[in-house]
Symmetry: C2
Subunit: 619 residues, 2 copies
């Protein structure tokens, strides 16, 4: 049985078709197939630990409903996993964590099985994947090239299809760059929505846990699972809004007109091809000067934020760790953080704020900006020659993102003529993480309906990129359920008004037997029905088919603006006797001359279908 | 003619009743009455400059509609006013500003006349008003006591009724403390909503321009005028939301259970009396532990934010200014900012973020927290003995406010037995500035309907605290106008539902002649009407009196949740033929048995009045 390249859904399906023994056997096979020589792994769970995890999962009464039931995952080795050492790729830094990091716990609570901890640029300082005493993690497409980093191992094990999901971290590109270089989805969430409790800090004020996945649906599911407020444990934790944006409605997409490629010639071609796909999708594309973004990236690189890395490792370096355990480039960078003064800090912060004023202006004019994830696909030899310069080039389009508090999603964009992959990153304002996945889905479908999973040329991803329409769940405290009756039904002319206010489909249902439906006289371009509750003495009401949507309460007003007289928003009785908000109609509407009663069709869709079938008749 | 103690409204009224010559004569009198020996002033405009300002104002075609037409104001001398030196209370620091600070320009654009620049603790570093080579500014009640600072002079000239309004700055209490010690309104706006362009920075990341006023209405008017986004000129500028909260609806008020008084015995009594007033107002009072706030205050005092003061004056101190120009305490404090490292900065920032998680939890449970503005009323002698310690005590309840990004309003709370005033500060989340004024109005009315203006025992403020109901103006892009017909009218049972969603009254008006009104059968505790648009063939419709409110679009959904069947929100035709959103009613509602047509009364209020008058009849 080959599990290689399986998505979360493939694993869940396998388990549901298997006995627990078969399930555990396959998970054991995943573990035993791994070699300790594989530089992607720093540690693997013991067979006993795997058994323990499995037994614990079996004791969960609701186990089979868990969305990650029995799904193997890998965790970057700067994130705590109980019973495994956390090394941050530095042997003498290693410690035994007392508990799981919050993100690991959330995955486990949903059924995930941790397989092992993955290699990284030491202390998550690097974008290359070569800065580790545990070995260089090679690119999964061509071992002469770098995997990208710092989350090198997590990218490698997902790209090779060993696990469908791995966690990385992403302070300045560490999650996005290796995703791009290994043909993966790399989701860098909005800062703070994933807890950093149990993560070795790099720059604490900027750190994010990130997701590596083969397809968008898997990334979306993990985003939904891990976005939980954790303010008691993480000073930078923030809540995702209770009704985060699900999709951009007619987005304006900014295309930078001043990209830096550092002499690279292949990647601009792949990038431009990707842009042309967005063009074909009929989005509004806008040329945009990203100078303030680039200036912010330089500010991170040249400014005092590196002192955060110094602060995070200060005590460790005071122990005089053996040199063999230290990556010399990383040590040099971190020690460089000592020299900055508080005055440097505040001056840089003022510069950042001034740049943010410019950046916010740009982000107010563009729903999304599309940048290369990284400009280059460096070889290991190149990095060994110029360990700092090329690394810094690679951060051009990732360094500024957390400083500007943006959401970012790196996605596969195609291949170069040498077969290496290229990735683009979709950038948006904070909390637009789910909407970026939706946009990525549209792009990937249009760019390559069936693309390779990671580096696996025999595993194709087709439907697996399709998002789960019901994520995230609408919150009844912050949403209003609204029944729509006519032109707002799915497939009808005004359905876009629901999309525009970030509405989520709840169900199709019927009214109670107390209603009549009328086709109102046409006064505008769109035909509309009027729903009428029968009067107390009337006995010939009927059930009318309707659709219920959940609309964020803060956008409900925007929706209601669009509702013209004689329609309004009142309440409708459903077939179960409960009431939800609904379109209603003033009496003067359905008493107007030209109104046709259409109750007998049982709903607007059937009536429209009938009129169309009539229109087709040859006589 | 004595202008002493005049409010903005008094000045505007005087000007509207006077010839331009009389107006200018009185403004000249204000200026010539000032003495250059008065330590509250650092500089006064020249008579020629006053003439120039007046002439310029006269050239404005719309001058008489300006809300500050001919109103004299004073400006703290760390805020740029063209043609006057900015000294920041340090003679050798002085420079000639090329233009007005943004806030000064905004006041001038609305008709204000600048009289002069006021004294301050040097570089706005202090809460006492004694740290200035331009002299000690005495308390306006008793010259043996400090005025409070750093905005000492601005407080003094307003408390003495010389000008109705003065600008201060408030980084850590500089606007609130002197307001409290001189019986004034001290409005410390949400960080960023007033531009700091043209302000000598103290701690740039925390600085605010603040307002001193004799009454709430004047403060409210200036808040409305000065809250303008200025992102191109101020890196910390932020927009006030387009529909800021106007009033707290049934607020929960947190009363600290662990206040520090440093041995003071009088002020706790005045404070407790003020709390008892809130109790009598029937607000929900909640005991709250403010340890995280106090810890944040200490963090400001002991932490690297003082480096911002060092950064702001670094170049100046490099010029080796003469010692006579420097306040030794201020110099010592500022030079202390040099020693901090970037590591100190980040460590303190992490602590702040951890405290903010706790503070945000408290602010989510309390709409407002009420603290003493400052614990003590120190004498000048005391401060001269212990210039640093008592100053630091005074910041106990102000230091943390900008670090926690709160809005704050200091208001007079009463007098001690020695006649000195005591102030309390209302704290709330950011952007609640207008709502704090509304709460303060309720308190001041209940506490002392007619209170003294500043230190003037012959000028009383009664109605002058009443707020202007139409500020801030609702934005049609972000609000929805809604006509209410029955129980939501002003004075009726469900009017609170409008208050709860921050609705602003727009107008009373009538529908077109196409409506009928019904009293629906009573199904709950509240009687409700149903508005019905007549059918196309009906000719006996009538006009119905309604009220229109502007509701922020983001709260409209919250309002609509509260609307039960058979009512709904549709559209109504007004007497001018336009349509606005309105309550409508399903036919099944007014066709239900027990409905009474009440069209002939012309509106719900008249019908209810009629039923009540009927009920009173003895037969």
């Amino acid at each position: 049985m080959s599990y290689i390249g399986w998505s979360i859904q493939d694993w869940v399906k396998f388990h549901s078709d298997s006995t627990p023994e078969q399930s555990f056997a396959l998970l054991s096979q995943v573990l035993t197939s791994q070699s300790s020589d594989d530089p992607a792994w720093i540690s693997l769970v013991s067979p006993a630990n795997l058994q323990h995890q499995w037994d614990f999962l079996q004791s969960n009464f609701h186990k089979t409903q868990l969305p990650l039931y029995g799904v193997p995952v890998a965790i970057k080795d700067n994130i705590d996993v109980k019973y495994l050492e956390t090394t941050a790729a530095c042997p003498s830094f290693a410690y035994d964590p007392q508990e799981d990091a919050t993100t690991v716990k959330l995955l486990r609570d949903q059924g995930a099985i941790i397989i092992g901890k993955t290699n990284l640029d030491q202390f998550a300082t690097g974008l290359v994947g070569t800065r580790s005493p545990y070995g260089v993690t090679p690119n999964t497409f061509n071992a002469k090239y770098v995997s990208g980093g710092s989350s090198a191992g997590s990218a490698s094990v997902v790209a090779r299809g060993i696990v469908p999901i791995a966690l990385g971290t992403d302070t300045a590109g560490s999650g996005r760059v290796p995703a791009a270089l290994n043909n993966l989805i790399g989701l860098k969430p909005t800062k703070g929505i994933f807890s950093c409790k149990g993560v070795v800090p790099a720059c604490k004020s900027l750190d994010c846990v990130s997701i590596f996945a083969l397809n968008l649906q898997d990334a979306q599911l993990c985003l939904d699972i891990m976005a939980k407020f954790d303010g008691d444990n993480d000073e930078y934790s923030r809540s995702l809004p209770t009704n985060p944006l699900r999709a951009f409605y007619k987005p304006t997409i900014g295309i930078p007109n001043n990209l830096l490629w550092y002499g690279e010639e292949e990647n601009p071609k792949v990038y431009n091809k990707a842009v042309s796909v967005f063009e074909k999708l009929n989005f509004e594309l806008k040329s945009v000067n990203i100078d303030p973004f680039l200036a912010l990236a330089r500010l991170l690189y040249e400014g005092p934020w590196v002192t955060e890395r110094f602060v995070a490792t200060e005590e460790f370096f005071q122990t005089n760790p053996p040199e063999k355990d230290l990556d010399p480039t990383v040590t040099q960078i971190i020690k460089g953080g000592e020299k900055y003064t508080a005055a440097n800090c505040f001056k840089s912060e003022y510069k950042r704020q001034a740049l943010l004023q410019q950046i916010n202006k740009i982000m107010n004019q563009n729903d999304v900006i599309i940048v290369p994830t990284c400009p280059l696909n460096p070889s290991i030899e190149q990095i060994q020659k110029e360990p700092v310069k090329i690394n810094s080039y690679q951060g051009t389009y990732t360094n500024f993102v957390n400083l500007a508090d943006l959401s970012a999603l790196s996605i596969p964009a195609g291949f170069r003529s040498d077969g290496l992959p290229f990735g683009i990153t979709l950038l948006s304002k904070k909390f637009n993480d789910f909407a970026l996945l939706d946009l990525a889905n549209q792009f990937l479908k249009a760019n390559s309906k069936n693309r390779f999973a990671g580096c696996l040329t025999d595993v194709l991803i087709g439907a697996a990129d399709e998002l789960n329409a019901s994520l995230p769940k609408p919150n009844p405290q912050t949403s209003i359920e609204l029944a729509v009756v006519g032109a707002h039904l799915k497939g009808f002319e005004l359905h876009w008004q629901l999309q525009k206010v970030n509405a989520a489909f709840v169900k199709q249902t019927k009214t109670s037997k107390n209603y009549k439906l009328y086709c109102l006289p046409k006064t505008g371009p769109v035909m509309k029905p009027g729903l009428r509750r029968v009067n107390p003495e009337e006995v010939d009401g009927a059930q009318i088919t309707i659709e219920v949507y959940s609309i964020p309460v803060e956008t409900f007003g925007d929706f209601i603006r669009l509702v013209p007289q004689p329609l309004g928003i009142g309440s409708v009785e459903l077939e179960d006797g409960s009431y939800v908000k609904s379109f209603i109609c003033e009496e003067s509407g359905y008493k107007a001359p030209g109104t046709i009663e259409i109750t007998k069709y049982g709903g607007w869709a059937k009536y429209i279908h009938y009129t169309k079938s009539q229109a087709k008749k040859p006589f």
